[in-house]
Amino acid sequence: MDQSLQDIKQSFKQIRKERRKENFKAFFETFLKNKIAVAGGVLLLCYTFVALFAPWIAPYDPFEMDLFNKLQPPSLDHWMGTDDKGRDILSRIIYGSRLSMGVGFAAVLFGASFGIMMGMVAGYYGGWVDAIISRSLDVMLAFPGILLALAIISALGPSLFNVTVAVGVFSIPLFGRIARGSTMEVRHMEYIEAVRSLGGNDGIIIFRHIFPNILSPLIVQGTLRLATAILSAAGLSFLGLGAAPPSPEWGAMLSSGRDFFFSAPYIAIFPGITIALLVMGFNLFGDGLRDALDPRMKS
């Protein structure tokens, strides 16, 4: 008897392993069916790859000026041409991917963690806690995002870090509202009451039971929000509020290309295309995720 029980327990480990594989497979299968989302995903993979291996991929040093070769149009030596200081635009874009995507991820992570915490607390406790949190989120939501960011940066001073904070702050209410709404939907479910009647405390209920069940809309929102965050960060840098001149941030590059738009349009066009493709990639990927993450789609 004991021997067979041991066997059963052993078999559990096997089952768990297989099921993990199955779940993974099911997720990918739904996701792969959506061709457009896959295109978005591939695009994002390329960008990530480039950002991770920038020093090995980039043909030139992004900071090295070569005034003899300034304002060169695209050629075999410089695929995307050179800027007004003779720096290779392709190399700068490749290095810039680290900055732009880093700012995007950090901002969304910042906004999402604060927003989700606030939203879950508001939705779970309700009453005056909810009133205070929700009204403050409404106030933040009332400001146009860029305006709020401008205000924050003018208070903190222009730097890439402050751009991250600013973009993160105006993402808070978005995540907060989604988290609050979903929490309110879930908190009266019977399985939550069951945990309560077992004696589980609020921490267990919020983090172990509510959080995983409201995660999918938040992940989707997060991916879509990454696109906006990168775009806003680039926009702020374009206005001269973010990355300082030598750094190859895409928005700043776009901005410096402005003066040469008629004589050397490639200085602005290539960073512009890079931003547009990345934003598109995130949007397509986010839409695909929404379908694949919905548990009701699983049989």
């Binding site: 059963i8 089952i15 399985y191 009451e193 069951a194 077992l198 004696g199 069940n213 699983k298």
Partner: protein
């Protein structure tokens, strides 16, 4: 039959549960839904006490108050002689382990993202039921108890049928070795053949584990199958309490009688006296004066409209709240 000498495991006295109604105008007086209005009863260990009534009569609200999911407006609930509203943090935790719940909707009562193993493990770890290393054995034992295969442990709730999910709900309740289980419409969402299976399982478990059930249902045939004692509620009040056979043989309250006569009998030749009650249940925000049932009672008199009947004992185990309980014959 439960003897009177036993001390009750659960004693509910003058329980009231009012919920405020949202005001429509600013100057409006504050109004309340009187979901449960002055309810007293007791439950003896090892028995099954059922609460029946239409939807909205306050039976689930009573159950929730006993589970301490809602705090009552007034009245006390004593568990083993201890007022549950006055428990210390530690005592409350122990109480939470002693009283468990099985819910109505088997699709809403299990977290869709946690495997059965995670669910049971969590229950045992919150209550600290046993040593970590022994928990897996206990889980296997629980699967045996509720009649599900061992590999259920690694599955997610959506892979089970309604009846199986209800068994899992039972397993979760049993995981912490409770004494009293509140079954809130525990079989109402299941189809009849599965209902019977789950009910029989519950009966079997009661015998083996010496459990006490507080069984909340609107279905009299289910209640008849499982209960020792039955409480009939109407509009937040108890109208009748009696032992199972007693209630079905000789109901004393017109409302109980009406409920019983509404149970279909699968025989065309049976002659039966049907008591028709007309109209809808009045609003619990503004319950009728006097006897709450008078608006629908075919026997109501002027006395019923003005004086509210007390719940009184007519023979040692049978209580009823009707002025004419002794004189009415159906």
């Amino acid at each position: 039959m439960p003897s009177k000498a036993k001390t009750p495991i659960l004693e509910v006295t003058h329980l009231k549960q009012y919920f405020p109604v949202k005001k429509e105008r600013i100057l409006e007086a504050k109004r309340y839904v009187q979901a449960v209005d002055d309810v007293s009863f007791s439950v003896e260990p090892g028995t099954t006490v059922s609460i029946v009534g239409e939807s909205g009569c306050g039976k689930s609200t009573t159950g929730r108050a006993i589970l301490r999911l809602d705090d009552p407006t007034s009245g006390t609930i004593e568990y083993n002689g201890q007022d549950i509203a006055k428990l210390s943090k530690k005592e409350l935790k122990a109480f939470r382990g002693d009283i468990q719940v099985i819910f109505q909707d088997p699709f809403a009562s299990l977290n869709p993202r946690r495997t059965i193993r995670q669910m049971l493990n969590e229950a045992m770890s919150i209550q600290n039921v046993m040593d970590k290393t022994k928990r897996e054995d206990r889980m296997l034992e629980l699967m045996d108890l509720v009649g599900l295969p061992y590999d259920s442990l690694e599955r997610l709730p959506h892979e089970f049928s309604g009846g199986q999910r209800q068994r899992l709900g039972i397993a979760r309740a049993l995981a912490v070795n409770p004494k009293l289980i509140v079954c809130d419409e525990a079989v109402s969402a299941l189809d009849v053949s599965v209902q019977a299976q789950v009910l029989n399982l519950m009966k079997k478990l009661q015998k083996e584990l010496n459990l006490t059930y507080l069984f909340i249902s609107h279905d009299l045939s289910v209640v008849k199958h499982i209960s020792n004692r039955i409480i009939v509620m109407y509009l937040g009040k108890i109208v009748e309490i009696a032992d199972n056979e007693d209630l079905f043989q000789s109901p004393r309250h017109p409302y109980t009688q009406a409920l019983l006569s509404a149970i279909p009998i699968p025989d065309v030749n049976v002659k039966r006296t049907q008591i028709d009650i007309t109209g809808d249940v009045p609003s619990p925000i503004n319950p009728p004066k006097g006897c709450r049932f008078h608006t629908r009672c075919p026997f109501a008199t002027e006395h019923c409209r003005t004086v509210e009947p007390e719940l009184r004992t007519i023979n040692n185990t049978h209580q009823v709240s009707c002025h004419y309980a002794e004189t009415l014959s159906f």
